[in-house]
């Protein structure tokens, strides 16, 4: 981490409101998270978790409020941001290899018209090594399992060499072994002093991995250290009206009680 990053929170949302057309999906979110950390954004389906992340990255417009990253506007610190979009957003039949996709993580640093060279290839190979896919570098991306595809996306983000990472549902449709591997890499990033923000849907694994969480259901319900946020009362407020997750909720509370 650089010195200016240490003084201001790596992620700061002030009164962020987002609307799709006339329908508001996020109301008055205030959130500050400091590096290092592995931080989960958790809530029911349609709670606006992904929207919160996209608004932070400038991919959807803010209806109100502002975003500061390392104390600065997004445009000033873009080169310090890494991003893993949801896996289903791209066409996996696209004619590119695993290596091609990971190299895309170096494109922003290269700038207009410059092609990746030996240094970029080396960085991409190291990133693939880290997610355990080095021997699949030449394979077309459609010929990978869901978990492997997700790890390719993670490797591309690693090739961005960022200080602040955003991951959108990286565990969705991913087998347990790939999940484990991904969480381990994210944990290493935290150890290196970075902040990793993860939109996550699974309450059971949340308590195991995240050292901080935000509970979101169109508004920010609670945010802070995992043990103090994942309380029965907070979860009830977040998931009120979502009967389908009550069972999962019970198990998570049980686990939360045990670990805190």
């Amino acid at each position: 981490m650089s010195a200016d990053g240490a003084s201001a929170p790596a992620l700061e949302l002030h009164d962020v409101t987002v609307a799709y057309g006339r329908r508001p999906v996020l109301w008055n979110v205030d959130l500050a998270v400091t590096a290092p950390g592995l931080f989960g954004i958790i809530g029911p389906n349609g709670a606006g978790k992904s929207t919160l992340l996209k608004a932070t990255l400038g991919l959807v417009p803010l209806a109100g409020g502002r975003v500061r990253l390392f104390g600065k506007p997004l445009a000033a610190v873009r080169d310090r941001i890494g991003y893993v979009p949801q896996r289903e957003t791209v066409d996996w039949d696209f004619p590119v290899s695993v290596m091609d996709v990971v190299l895309m993580g170096t494109y922003a640093r290269l700038g207009w018209f410059r092609r990746p060279g030996a240094a970029e290839r080396e960085a991409a190979r190291a990133a693939l090594e880290r997610v355990g896919l080095a021997d699949l570098a030449g394979r077309q991306i459609g010929r990978l399992s869901g978990g492997q595809q997700q790890r390719v996306f993670l490797a591309r983000a690693l090739a961005q060499a960022a200080d602040l990472y955003f991951l959108d549902e990286p565990m969705a449709g991913v087998d347990v072994r790939s999940q484990e591997r991904i969480f381990r890499v994210l944990d290493d990033l935290r150890r290196e002093g970075r902040l990793v923000i993860v939109v996550h849907h699974d309450l059971r694994t949340a308590a195991d991995w995240f050292d901080g969480v935000a509970l979101v259901d169109m508004r920010l319900v609670a945010a802070g250290p995992t043990a103090s946020v994942l309380t029965p009362e907070n979860l009830r407020r977040t998931y009120a009206g979502h009967l389908d997750v009550l069972d999962e909720l019970g198990r998570a509370v049980e686990r939360g009680g045990r670990t805190s």
Binding site: K54, L57, G58, L59, A75, R78, D79, I81, Y83, P85, T89, V90, D91, F94, P95, V96, S97, D100, V101, M104, Y107, A108, L110, W112, F113, R114, R115, P116, G132, D135, L136, R139, Q140, S145, G146, G147, Q148, R151, R156, Q160, F166, D175, R177, S178, R181
Partner: protein, 308 residues
């Protein structure tokens, strides 16, 4: 067929230019297809006819650069209307495309019939832009078409990295600071350029096939963007030259349909016989897997065993 040797000099020059047009249409069209904008070229191409006739009406000239400039403006106007319909109404993409395509083409036909009904001097020959007619091209026209085509290929080659990134993952591209909307407009404009340049060869109705069929055929043979572009260019080139030669050999045969049919033949070959994605290879693979399952000899792939 007598072969190229028997063709006059002008036909050879035109064939060379159309070869360049076919190659560039395949290359540029590949990104149209990869970005899922295949129908955009269709809307643009149908709008060009109104542009050609309007350019003649406004200037009284009928030299190729003037008419193609009119076609390009009309293509951009058509695409602008398309963007506006999508943005300001709740009409879906396919419906908006159909509206622009139908209305602009209807306008073009109405203008064209109006001209011929009044017997406007010099209006004859404009209908050649409907189905393509390369025999009328001069060597100077051919040089212009080839020059613009090569420039379009150069632009794609220069921005290969940016175009691939935006076509594959626009959200990631935007998050890492690339101007995705600008690049999208640039791509669409480039497709419009190729549609216009392909107009004399293939005509307003069929030129879009030249930017869609070769890329789709090329995709069958390769799993990488670079080879796909090159192959799409070669397929477009072969189809274009084949069309010109055939229509030079057969009197009154327009070039547009022959080019499209040649491209379709190459697509059919690609569809059936490509080594991995081809229909026959896929059938064989499915049968092979079924046989191995029945025999109990199918083993999980080692690569997939590490993380499912």
């Amino acid at each position: 067929m007598n072969g190229l040797v028997g063709l006059p000099y002008n036909t050879l020059v035109v064939a060379a230019a159309v070869a360049a047009v076919g190659f560039a249409a395949g290359v540029v069209g590949s990104f149209g297809v990869l970005r899922r904008r295949a129908l955009v070229g269709d809307a643009a191409s149908h709008a060009t006819l109104a542009g050609v006739v309007s350019a003649f009406l406004l200037t009284g000239r009928r030299d190729l650069p003037t008419l193609l400039a009119g076609a390009f403006v009309a293509a951009l106007v058509g695409l602008g209307v398309l963007v506006a319909i999508r943005r300001f109404t709740r009409t879906r993409d396919d419906a908006a495309t159909a509206i622009v395509l139908g209305v602009s083409f209807g306008l073009g036909i109405a203008l064209l019939s109006g001209l011929s009904a009044r017997g406007v001097a010099g209006a004859g020959g404009l209908e050649q832009f409907l189905v393509g007619h390369t025999a009328a091209l001069t060597a100077g026209d051919a040089a212009t078409l080839a020059g613009v085509s090569l420039a379009a290929v150069l632009v794609v080659w220069l921005a290969l990295k940016e175009a691939t990134l935006v076509a594959f993952d626009p959200a990631f591209a935007a998050a890492s600071g690339w101007p995705v909307t600008l690049l999208d407009y640039a791509l669409v404009a480039l497709v419009a350029v190729m549609v216009v340049v392909g107009l004399p060869a293939a005509g307003a109705v069929l030129v879009t096939a030249l930017v869609v069929i070769p890329p789709v055929a090329a995709r069958q043979w390769t799993e990488r963007v670079g080879p796909m572009l090159l192959l799409a260019g070669v397929i477009g080139l072969v189809a274009a030259v084949g069309g010109v030669v055939a229509s030079a050999a057969v009197p009154r045969l327009p070039t547009g349909p022959t080019i499209v049919l040649a491209a379709a033949a190459l697509f059919a070959v690609s569809f059936f016989f490509a080594p991995q994605r081809g229909w026959i290879a896929r059938r064989r693979m499915i049968r092979d897997v079924a046989r191995r399952i029945a025999a109990g000899t199918l083993q999980p792939d080692e690569d997939d065993a590490d993380g499912g």
